[in-house]
Symmetry: C2
Subunit: 370 residues, 2 copies
Amino acid sequence: MEVEKESNEYFSSYEDLEVHRLMLEDEPRTLAYQNAILSNEAYFKDKVVMDVGCGTGILSIFCAQAGAKKVYAVEASDLANLAKEVVKENGFDEIIEVIHSRVEDVILPDNMKVDAIISEWMGFYLLHEGMLDSVIAARDKFLKDGGEMFPESATIYIAPCSIPSLYDKWDNLYGVSMSTFAKCLRQNKSNKPEILNVKPADLLGPQVALCWINLKENKMSDLDKYSIQHVVGARKSGFYQGLCVWFECKFPGQLNNGENGAVVLDTSPESPATHWKQTVIVLPHSYEVEEGDPIAFQLDMTRDAVNRRRYNLQVTILDPETVDHPLPCTCHMTRCILIKIFMEQQAEKELETHAKYEGNVIEDEDIDEV
Amino acid sequence: MEVEKESNEYFSSYEDLEVHRLMLEDEPRTLAYQNAILSNEAYFKDKVVMDVGCGTGILSIFCAQAGAKKVYAVEASDLANLAKEVVKENGFDEIIEVIHSRVEDVILPDNMKVDAIISEWMGFYLLHEGMLDSVIAARDKFLKDGGEMFPESATIYIAPCSIPSLYDKWDNLYGVSMSTFAKCLRQNKSNKPEILNVKPADLLGPQVALCWINLKENKMSDLDKYSIQHVVGARKSGFYQGLCVWFECKFPGQLNNGENGAVVLDTSPESPATHWKQTVIVLPHSYEVEEGDPIAFQLDMTRDAVNRRRYNLQVTILDPETVDHPLPCTCHMTRCILIKIFMEQQAEKELETHAKYEGNVIEDEDIDEV
């Protein structure tokens, strides 16, 4: 009874706890961090680490398990009190120091710098309600020259998609037509994008990167706006109804040996589902496309002027005739087909030259270089 | 484009629409209503029906499909505007009249009475945030003598259970001990019961009915408090960690012929999952029990004095020695074992008497009657 009473002291809000429960139960997420840290044990040994927004403290504990000398676990919310207990319960209270503070206000003893910063700062479509600004501030203030960021980079991908859950069944639901209802549902999405697990089969075209964020170098102002104009050829016939957005984070790998490749946390429709799912920007209409049809769009992701932790996502449907297509382009417009054939012929010629110079050994690497 | 603009007129809040989407996508729920109505087509033919809290209007449409002469579809929220469009889209605007009003304020032409009231008023554990009061008010004001209620009765069941999701994994989550976190999670549940899908295997004892609500007869004040004191024998060894609460609704069946039995909407752990899931009242501690151990508890479900749409659920753990056990009781206390043996012997004797009087034909029915 007494133990239960005590834990009231570090009582956090119901919502906070449920969010952290969701994150802890998200295996692809938590295992990516665990792998990234424990596969770099030799790197972490005797290092000083900062965990920005430590939450329940689990990432700090992974660092301590990997041999870190000191971990500063910074948490602004009341969850810091809970993190202290979790750290104690795991016997790391000598190594992990939980600091209940905004990271911007933290002062380390002797203005010490840290070897690595670890943080799980990602929100929906990477940047929504995320705390990347705080991570960048922490990096500028606390990271040693040559220090490591976990993760070290993040990429946002987009691809055109169908959204059957907002279209298909509503015309005949239990023998009733609910089209008006579905129309309202879709209209609502113009205010709030849809968060759902997109089936790989509902992707209509290849993905394209909207941005690549280098956690070691990008400045806060770099995050203010990302834009892309793009054309893809539909890879099958179907209904183009939205843009699917997801992200991927890469952790530093092979810091000490060549055995482990980089660990990647991938939230694409093709990867195991995470609590981030995918974000879909719903178009105002459904467009029927045939295989090879060019799909041209512009996506602007702009920080909200008022709430700096939010972004406005705006899709503009473009005319494929007036937009630059990528080289090569997968669409079936005559220009793109000709360019594609030309480029393939060039590639073949170069391969022949390679083969001439290097014998018959043509490795994958060579093909990639072409 | 114009159609999309128009539908802004009956724009409902994002949350409202998502709640109704969840309910429409809940097949056991919606199919139960559809079956209850369409299996009673002969009854509904030319009847006047009221749908209390019609939402998107789908239940009213089922009634119209079943041949109702007139349906008054009452909806207090702005969703009424959407319901009007859905009704129109299904060609029933001559039969279904959507009334945008609280049902308490509705006046029907010539103070007309209706033959049947249909409503999907159920909340978590049946009564949470439900609108049963409004349904009862509508019944008293609008239902003809001998009219039908869809559903006509509802039962709340409880059973002791384990809650592995709040206990098991947290001692070793990815190699980290998160016991303090789990303790906080469980503590939070003292303020807000856990809504989750309980696995049948996690039920530790047989269910018992907390209450049976007769929609045709119960008064509003009958809903103010339900209490039960009960003892069950654990049907297997395990950890007693909570009380699982669910409900079942029964619809009028065989109104016109003997072919169709009553339709039941059952939200028990053994039935297909619904959006109500089950509600679990989490105990402050985990109790290890052996098969046959008596589990004694009292559950009080009391209307909140301030928010009359909410209930306070209070569990009291009782001493099995000082509580009346049911007859027979499945627990392994000597008294109960002896009583059970005695009752079984009596039953056997009665069966023999039956056999003597009625020959050798002993049907299930006879056994049930004993």
